[in-house]
């Protein structure tokens, strides 16, 4: 194994009692994640540019996005921010078989988005030979009626010191193999993504 991404979600009521949950190894990373690694490894004084699409399918030259004062995949979106961090969809992606998936399908805008947070550090365990960390977000339904959700994605924010509001999709997965996860009014879903490096 090398680098895997595990998806976990828990549907909870307003008292935080877990009603349903699921954990599975995602197929999640998309080409933008590869491009991110590629640019970081290649761009040691190399002026070669590669194109990457943002969530609106607008192409950018990736090394140009690398600046000391910039952001490069930042995902810790604050509460209420729906443009990046972990995001969730109202429909299932139909193009999941294409690694060049630019964005999630029909991003949900009616749920209340909590903070996207991360573990305080990377856990390195020489017994299991794994180095891991998790990213978390809670989506709460306060709409007054049920909401069905299907997919989750991680959008990273990029900033090169001049162009603002660039968001790129790094991974996407069905929450429930393409079927809906129904969130009744007053309930919430806790989602986590675990990045796991295994030796």
């Amino acid at each position: 194994m090398n680098v895997d991404l595990w998806v976990e979600w828990k549907l909870c009521d307003d008292k935080n009692v877990v009603l349903k949950q699921k954990r599975f190894k995602g197929k999640s990373f998309v080409a933008n994640f590869a491009l991110m690694i590629y640019a970081l490894m290649r761009y040691a004084g190399d002026d070669t540019t590669i194109s990457i699409n943002d969530v609106g399918a607008v192409g950018y030259n990736f090394p140009d996005l690398i600046a000391a004062s910039g952001k490069f995949g930042y995902c810790l979106a604050g509460a209420g921010v729906q443009t990046f961090g972990i995001v969730i969809s109202d429909t299932a992606a139909t193009s999941m078989a294409d690694i060049r998936l630019d964005a999630i399908s029909n991003k949900n805008t009616t749920l209340t988005y909590g903070d996207t947070t991360m573990d305080a550090s990377v856990t390195v365990n020489s017994t299991t030979d794994k180095a891991t960390f998790k990213i978390y977000r809670t989506f709460t339904n306060s709409t007054g009626s049920g909401v069905d959700v299907y997919d989750i994605a991680l959008y990273g924010e990029y900033y090169d010191g001049s162009i603002d509001n660039m968001f790129f999709n790094l991974c996407v997965d069905h929450l429930n193999a393409g079927s809906a996860v129904s969130i009744p009014d007053g309930q919430h879903i806790d989602v986590s993504l675990e990045i796991q490096v295994s030796a």
């Binding site: 194994m1 680098v3 190894k25 970081l40 550090s121 295994s198």
Partner: protein, 201 residues
């Protein structure tokens, strides 16, 4: 088991114009530094910030990314030129099993033509391509090594060392390490290494 981001490794022994494949399989071993770097990028509101402490190849703790200037632009650079043994694909003679906390090779072969040296050519970088009906994005890294030391050399461990600009200094981090069956290079023989990094769905 196949992961979501994988490294494949192929190794050839080079004897004159002949290239004899001695390994073709999955490399297994991104190590903790790689996870910490990804963590830092996802967390940093500025690449100049100190987000995570990472052990460099000299076993010193470095704050990361802590990139000092736009002109620096060194993050985990692998495209080392000829004669550079500090980063890129590097090889050694250590045989200790890989631990995810490894921060360097067991025993690195230094560049050169003296005893116990290997001659390092440049690490070359292929373009990122999409294959398997757009379900995989991949690229390759290649490097040749030649034994010009006059004696025999055993190569048993392989690594990717990345170059970073941390607070204005060049710092090197071990991103992956693999230990394979030892390949003995007689005087004049060489080694061709090819890593393929791929993200697949």
């Amino acid at each position: 088991m196949k992961g979501n981001l994988n490294i494949k490794l192929r190794v050839w022994k080079v004897d004159g114009k002949k290239e004899i494949k001695v390994y073709d399989g999955n490399a297994k071993c991104f190590v903790a530094q790689f996870a910490k770097m990804i963590y830092a990028y996802l967390k940093a509101t500025s690449l100049g910030n100190n987000e995570v402490s990472i052990t460099d190849v000299s076993n010193a703790a470095q704050n990361y990314p802590a990139c000092s200037s736009y002109a620096g632009k060194f993050f985990m650079g692998l495209n080392a030129g000829e004669g550079i043994d500090e980063y890129g694909i590097v090889v050694g003679s250590g045989t200790t099993a890989v631990d995810v906390a490894d921060y360097k090779l067991g025993t690195l072969y230094a560049h050169g033509m003296a005893a116990s040296n290997l001659y390092y050519k440049g690490t070359t970088f292929g373009a990122l391509t999409y294959v398997n009906s757009n379900t995989t994005a991949q690229w390759t890294l290649t490097r040749y090594f030649y034994n010009l030391s006059g004696g025999e050399l055993d190569v048993s461990e392989y690594a990717l060392y990345g170059l970073s600009d941390v607070s204005g200094s060049s710092v090197y981090f071990c991103l992956s390490r693999d230990v394979l069956t030892t390949v003995t290079l007689k005087a004049g023989q060489g080694l061709k290494m090819e890593y393929t990094l791929e993200v697949s769905i």
